[in-house]
Symmetry: C2
Subunit: 95 residues, 2 copies
Amino acid sequence: MIKVVAKFVIKSDRIEEMKSVCSDLIDETRKENGNISYELYQDVNNPEIFSFIEEWESQEALDQHMETDHFKKAEVHFGNFAAKDPEVNIYSLVK
Amino acid sequence: MIKVVAKFVIKSDRIEEMKSVCSDLIDETRKENGNISYELYQDVNNPEIFSFIEEWESQEALDQHMETDHFKKAEVHFGNFAAKDPEVNIYSLVK
């Protein structure tokens, strides 16, 4: 199992669009083979900060996700919404 | 429910100490009222990057956690182990 945290800082005037695009992405991603969980969070202290927290059965499943049409479509939107480069970390559980 | 992601970059020669200190912290924290989950992850591409991914019933439960002896003790160690300031975000679920 791998865990992904993908953190975005979104321009303040694009926050509602961000949520809308993510909603569709989440619905499609949860149908994928190898996805265990895929959730979007918003910072309680700064509404411009969002993180996807994701669980995948394997790196291969994550790689396949990034080749899907729904991911590639959302990625273009994220590039327009983001105030800076996203911060993506792939993790394994220590404890 | 709130979710916390607390990300640390640890000096390469302190990684094993970091894991040891975190192990005790995790055991104690999981016994706390209001803690739903408390897990430590290490970046698969950069072993100096660690994140706690935490779930708490409320902000109050998280506030109480930060007043415990086990948290304060670990915090001193983290200050010594860290290569830079930690990045802590408190999140609510969007979807």
